[in-house]
Amino acid sequence: MSMAPITEETLHAYVDDRLSPSERADVEQYLVQHPQHAERVADYERQRRMLQEAFGPVLEESIPTRLKMRPPRSPMMAWRVAAVITWIAVGAILGWGVRDRQAPPDTSAAYEQDLVERARLAHVIYTAENRRAVEVAATHEDEMIRWLSKRMNAAVRVPDLTEFGFQAMGGRLLPGTDGPACQIMYQNADGKRLTIYLSRDPGKVRPVRFSDQELVHVVFWSDGTLAFAVSAEIDREALARIAATIAQGSPG
């Protein structure tokens, strides 16, 4: 007898008809000797039949109109992404121009520089942490959003960046220039991290601009309520696309 041991998993594979004929025969022999398992397996097989019979008719139902796919949504999204990317490119070019002419620092430029430096510093400090990278984990996303929104006195969102391979890890509250700021951290499968730094910036709408440094690129803007600064050690174009996605969800 070279019968493989019959495990719980084998019994389920039997129920789901995933076994070879010889394995099936072994299980059937086993079930004859173990009536209590035979009864259970018969119940599981009945469950499968009940599910098929109960929900099978859904396949034949006519599809409700609201599920008939309306394609306009995606091209429009594509246009919006394209528009935001163009906007970023124009902003970047303007930004370079300003930089070349050594514009005198006004309060706005000073604010922006301060924002970028704080964001970059927070990025460098906390992305280096392993166990304490975030204060509240994204597994409690709703709680985290409520907490940060309350402290920031503004609606904080955690943008979905999974299409870029980045999963939200969580967030933390930080001291900002003008009251609290916060940081939301993401990580991709390679362990690379990205942060979004948010600071209150009421009444200001600032165009999207880049601040490039050797390693950490920062892209920043304000939507009329919050200033955003997205930092990551990824190439500029990838960062621009991510920023475009984040900006899309902004009210401004």
Binding site: Q47, F55, E60, S74
Partner: protein
Amino acid sequence: MLTDTAIREQIPRLRRYARALTSNRDAADDLVQDTLERALSRSALFRPGGNPRPWLFTIMHNVFVNQVRSAAARRTSQIGDDFIEPASQDTSQDGLALRDLERALAQVPGDQREILLLIGLEELSYAETAAVVGIPVGTVMSRLSRGREKLRAALAGATEVASLKVIK
């Protein structure tokens, strides 16, 4: 790139799974609608030559988990308890049997119910199911085993209640 037609072909399967998962026609179609919108906006990310069905089930799983999570946050209730409201008003023999099954399914925790349905109703392989839900195959097997045992107990309970009623 995934064509609209390839996505459209999967709508009946998505609706069947969503119906069994939520036991509520409107909630199920909301789930399908959100899934389709997300799928369309990401169709460019679909791996050419891949099978669209597991890909769409993966998106639906993510949407479902998010819905359950926000429903739980709103009502601070347990997953599967009040997310599910049997909608069927049908009192025929089949209608009652369906309601018993829906009620029994509702007693199976959401994470086990998903596995139970992906395998038992949608006939995905164990490996495909693991990929859809993003867990190891071993965990799929243990959830399948626990889920089936829960459903078995819940169905047995329903039969007992039914026979008690008959006696009375």
